[in-house]
């Protein structure tokens, strides 16, 4: 449905989006993930024909955004970061206006306005001025505006930003509800949102594509091997990391031991175990038997959050590199 090839947006001094390529199949919900300023909004604006790309191509439903913008616009519903509402208009009046702009008319228009109001639960504020609505309602009006012409593709820029937890849940449910009929791209920097709503993730950072994969794959990778973090301290003041490392490597089921940090007599060690083996008890016993203190022992299983941080964090991050390598580009 959406095909992006080496899409680039350059400004006078910066490159906002740098040669991004991805494909999105029909009917998918895709999470567009990245820290603030990563280029999410710019990419979305290029897909919606608001900004022309500096290089590369983007096609929506088979139409190029530069060559046939009108055809693309007809097939896209777009909710920008802040809902594009006119404060002096009433909800229904506004939806009618947008519907007309998108090419609806007559009874069709009336029906779609009703439908969008029902779907986004804003039927009770139809006669209210948009400027008087709460943030949550405005966001939903924004969403209603995006689906009014039943577009093939929905592009939602941080649809849950600024909402309270209850509204966030409602909005997520709404998005999931819409999924079967529309291909949805939603941008966010909130991870649970992606885990809960999306099937596919596209992670970008500093304008570059870092990873694209399905949520399930990313999570599976996170859960594949158990890894445990241990903080060990020597009792008499000295503790040599290589000795600890050697000792732990001998515990059955351990596949890799990594010394991450040493401060005075304390060491922080990450232990990876083979798949399906629980080694925490054995590790604890080994440490205590060797006469050291076990200050802390916690699972370091990679959540999506950690993968995300590793992928988008600074390049000097110690654990960042292996994970980046593992992810398919």
């Amino acid at each position: 449905m959406i095909s992006v090839k080496e899409l680039t947006k350059r400004y006078a001094r910066t490159v906002a989006v740098d040669q991004i390529s991805f494909e999105i199949a029909k009917g998918q919900i895709v999470g567009f993930l990245g820290p603030n300023g990563a280029g999410k909004t710019t990419t979305m604006r290029m897909l919606t024909c608001f900004l022309p790309p500096s290089a590369g191509t983007a096609r929506v439903a088979g139409f190029d955004v530069l060559e046939q913008p009108l055809e693309v616009k007809k097939r896209i519903g777009y909710l920008p970061e802040s809902p594009p509402i006119y404060p002096e208009m009433e909800t229904a009046e506004y939806l009618k206006f947008v519907g007309k702009l998108k090419g609806l008319s007559g009874s069709d228009l009336q029906k779609r306005v009703e439908y969008a109001c029902d779907r986004c639960a804003i039927a009770d504020v139809k006669k209210k001025l948009l400027g008087r609505l709460s943030k949550g309602y405005r966001q939903r009006v924004g969403l209603a505006q995006a689906i009014i012409h039943n577009p093939d593709v929905l592009i939602l820029d941080e649809p849950t930003a600024g909402l309270d937890p209850k509204q966030i849940n409602e909005t997520r449910d709404l998005i999931k509800d819409l999924a079967p009929d529309h291909t949805i791209i939603l941008s966010t920097h909130i991870l649970p949102e992606v885990e809960q709503t999306c099937e596919q993730v596209i992670i970008i950072n500093k304008g570059k594509l870092v990873a694209t994969d399905s949520v399930r794959n990313l999570q599976a990778r996170a859960r594949g091997a158990e890894s445990v973090l241990l903080e060990i301290a020597g009792r008499d003041g000295v503790l040599e990391a290589p000795i600890v490392q050697h000792k732990l490597e001998q515990v059955a089921g351990v596949s890799r031991v990594l010394c991450k940090q040493q401060v005075d007599s304390r060491v922080l060690i990450e232990v990876e175990s083979e798949k399906g083996r629980l080694v925490r008890g054995d590790l604890a016993r080994a440490v205590v038997q060797a006469g050291w203190d076990l200050n802390e022992l916690r699972p370091a299983a990679m959540s999506l959050e950690e993968i995300f941080l590793q992928l988008t964090g600074s390049e000097s991050g110690e654990a960042g590199k292996p994970a980046t390598k593992e992810l398919p580009r």
Binding site: R45, T48, C49, F50, L51, P52, L70, E71, K73, K74, I76, Y78, P80, E81, S82, P84, I85, Y86, P87, E88, M89, E93, F97, V98, K100, L101, K102, G103, Q145
Partner: protein
């Protein structure tokens, strides 16, 4: 065309819901009413003096009231036009609604025409108010309606040209005050450029005077449709709207 009308209706709605229209109508009616009252008083007093002296000078409503009055209307317009156009694009940019318009299957030209048309309709509704006062002239006198109609056509053309310029300026900023102030200065300059011919007769003075909207209004207010002048106004309208569309496009490249 349908989209143009949709945009135009929405703009008119905004004008009339947000009170801008009513405030402009009130201000305009007050200013126009004052000029009408003073001109009419002078006319009546002069008329009585003539009678008392027993002289029979020709008194003419068109020459002595309508013409100076409509000249004044074109000056009041200088103040009204920035107030009408300043919000057209600046407000959309500030609200972020420009993103909605720009991502809808609508041509830039349709958006621009719709907005300009709405501004022109609001201005026409100001002119419509003047009918109330002028109706008295027709009730108690016999002014000639043909030069009057031509003068109104001139007012509309002049306003159309200045509104097009104001629309263009509104695309340059997201701040309505800046848009309004800049439009006012440009309108004022375009009005007073004609004065240089009064003290200077070299070529540049003629060129400058030619660009003045006031120079081209003279023929209309005298009741003459001069093709040259009509073409001038139409050119300014087209140029203004053309620059607006260029500016909208560059907005996309830069923003």
């Amino acid at each position: 065309m349908r989209n143009t009308w949709t945009i135009c209706r929405k703009e008119l709605g905004s004008y009339f819901v947000s009170w801008i229209a009513y405030i402009l109508l009130t201000l305009f009616a007050a200013a126009f009413g004052f000029f009408f009252w003073t001109l009419l008083t002078v006319f009546v007093v002069e008329g009585m003096e003539m009678q008392m002296r027993g002289q029979a000078f020709p008194m003419n409503l068109n020459e002595q009231i309508i013409r100076p009055l409509l000249m004044n209307v074109s000056v009041i317009g200088l103040f009204m036009i920035p107030l009408i156009t300043m919000r057209l694009f600046a407000e959309e940019k500030r609200n972020g609604t420009i993103e909605l318009l720009a991502t809808s299957p609508v041509l830039d030209l349709e958006i621009i025409l719709g907005k300009w048309l709405a501004a022109l309709i609001l201005y026409s509704s100001l002119l419509l108010l003047t009918g109330l006062n002028l109706a008295f002239l027709f009730k108690f006198g016999h002014p000639d309606w043909k030069p009057l109609a031509v003068a109104y056509l001139g007012l509309l053309l002049q306003a159309g040209a200045l509104l097009a310029i104001g629309t263009f300026i509104s695309t340059l900023t997201r701040n309505q005050i800046i848009a309004g102030a800049a439009t006012f200065v440009v309108c004022l300059l375009l009005y007073v450029f004609g004065w240089v011919e009064g003290f200077e007769s070299s070529t540049w003075a003629h060129v400058l005077a030619y660009t003045s909207v006031a120079t081209h209004f003279d023929s209309f207010v005298r009741g003459v449709i001069d093709l040259k002048d009509a073409v001038f106004y139409l050119t300014v309208i087209i140029l203004g709207l053309f620059f607006t569309s260029r500016s909208m496009e560059s907005l996309r490249w830069r923003s």
